[in-house]
Amino acid sequence: MCVLAALDQQPSHAYELATRLAEAGLGEVSYGTVYPLITRLRRSGLLHEQQQLSPLGPARKVFSLTKAGRAALTDWLALWQRSTSDVEAVLRATGVWAGERR
């Protein structure tokens, strides 16, 4: 979901995406983790790739979301919000939510 969200915000190269995810607060995200993940998403039809010429080296692939990728992001976001609100409700009910703990 984080990969799709980052690519929805801005299409990127695999290495650039790893850097952006790390900078966004996901901790140390290696290219070795991101590249296989991108491969899976691309094979699932959620990502589109396009060759982009680079003035500094060989042409590189830029990944962006397909229509199916945007739909998947929307679904996963709704699922995430629902599950986090459910967990929050349980935490509030049990009194362990930050600031409400007795």
């Binding site: 290696s30 290219y31 590249y35 500094l56 080296g57 060989p58």
Partner: protein, 235 residues
């Protein structure tokens, strides 16, 4: 500059080394070049860009090259039983060439030496030397040496295949089936090659020799391909 394998030749040596190792892993799995080349180019370009920002390939990957190559292979659906017919036949050709060269260099001279030695022993023992040349003992020795060469040929071919396909799945089954099917192919092709020899009055004309070798080697190659196909059907 981009090499035929997709690697960026201008990439630093550290990047080239990592990419070469990853590519070797995929090649050992039997991933066809047409599939692995775009990925090689892709990874090489990304690692080259990262290197330009002062990050070594090892740091960027965050794991060993073998682990990275394995994950990429899994996500690409490459962890399957590839037929690898091209490498199978190329390896077999290397083994066959070695066996044929060794045959001409060792087996034929040995055969003449053994025949001459047995002849001398028989003459010494008082037997008829002329009769010996036409005897079944002489023919038996010749056929035994040819059989020995045949066994050595099959062993050399299978050893070369084992070396060439060492990372391939179903290798043991391929070799077992290959040993049987090559023997069967030889049982068909050798009499046919001998028949061609008889018809051509054992001519050494290049076309005749090529036909005889082509028949034996072609059927042996077909037997190997059939063995590999059979082994893959079991997986």
């Amino acid at each position: 500059m981009i090499t035929p394998s997709g690697r960026d030749r201008d990439a630093p040596a550290a990047v080239q080394s990592v990419v070469r190792d990853a590519e070797r892993s995929w090649r050992r799995l039997g991933v066809p070049r047409a599939l692995r080349d775009p990925v090689v180019a892709d990874v090489c370009a990304d690692l080259h860009a990262a290197y330009g920002q002062g990050r070594t390939p090892e740091t960027v990957l965050g794991m060993t090259v073998a682990e990275f190559a394995e994950q990429v292979a899994r996500e690409n659906g490459w962890l399957v039983a590839w037929p690898m017919y091209g490498r199978l036949l190329a390896s077999a050709a290397v083994g066959a060439a070695a066996a044929i060269l060794a045959g001409f260099a060792l087996v034929l001279p040995s055969m003449y030496l053994v025949l001459a030695a047995v002849g001398h022993v028989l003459v010494w023992a008082g037997s008829d030397a002329e009769g010996y040349r036409e005897s079944s003992l002489n023919a038996g020795i010749v056929y035994a040496m040819y059989a020995l060469f045949g066994v050595g040929f099959v062993a050399a071919v299978l050893t070369a295949v084992r070396w060439g396909l060492k990372a391939a799945v179903q290798l043991r089954q391929t070799l077992s089936a290959g040993a049987v099917l090559i023997a069967v192919s030889a049982a068909v092709s050798v009499p046919l090659a001998v028949a061609i020899g008889h018809v051509s009055r054992f001519s050494s004309a290049p076309l005749v020799v090529a036909a005889e070798f082509g028949l034996v080697l072609g059927l042996a190659g077909a037997a190997l391909v059939a063995a590999r196909a059979w082994a893959l059907r079991l997986s």
